[in-house]
């Protein structure tokens, strides 16, 4: 059992619940950002190896024994990218909400159903 991964999945579930049930557009985006945080936690937890240190070679970690002392650097590298992309998506979604609000003066998702069938 991986505690951080559990936490990550719980956050994904809570975020998803918010996305599916909250009417307010801002709340829906908050839901997405909670999901995002959860996913990042999951990714980092995948790279973690118990009792090891950060993947930086310095005085305490020499090149020779790095393979036995550091955690997996790849998930960290992936998460860096994912975090920035998450911000980009969140900001863009918020911009859509701002524009939608400008046009319709409503933040409820139920008021944006003019296209259907």
């Amino acid at each position: 059992m991986n505690l951080v991964m559990t936490l990550g999945f719980l956050l994904v579930i809570i975020g998803l619940w918010a996305m599916l049930t909250q009417k307010n557009l801002i709340k829906i985006i908050i839901g997405f950002s909670i999901i995002d945080t959860g996913v990042h936690l999951i990714i980092v937890s995948i790279g973690y190896i118990k009792g090891r240190t950060a993947p930086i070679l310095d005085a305490s970690v020499s090149v020779a024994d790095a393979a036995n002392k550091i955690v997996d650097p790849i998930p960290s590298a992936l998460v860096l990218t994912a975090i920035v992309i998450g911000l980009a998506v969140t900001a863009l979604m918020l911009t859509f909400v701002i524009k939608l609000y400008q046009k319709n003066k409503s933040l409820s998702i139920d008021d944006y159903q003019e296209l259907k069938w």
Partner: protein, 85 residues
């Protein structure tokens, strides 16, 4: 062991914050709560020996994202006031 305790404590706070973020009526508080989740997540990254991620999450995930949310809210608020006038 200490790590585990820390993670459990941080995780519990994060889950509470997540519920608050979803169910608080006030949008600003809700945004702040979501920011707290990210901030605590960056602490967890430190515990998981991922300082790069921790810095990024703190700066972008909790810092900038919250600012962006607040800017958006401000923008919407402004519109509200505009229409009230």
């Amino acid at each position: 062991m200490l790590n585990t305790v820390f993670i459990i404590i941080l995780g519990s706070i994060m889950l509470v914050a997540a519920f608050l973020a979803v169910y608080i009526k006030n949008l600003v508080s809700s945004v702040i709560a979501a920011g707290i989740i990210s901030l605590l997540a960056s602490l967890i990254y430190l515990l998981l020996a991922a300082p790069d991620v921790a810095m990024t999450e703190a700066a972008i995930g909790s810092g900038l994202t919250t600012v962006v949310f607040l800017l958006a809210l401000k923008n919407i608020k402004q519109k509200e006031e505009d229409t009230d006038d």
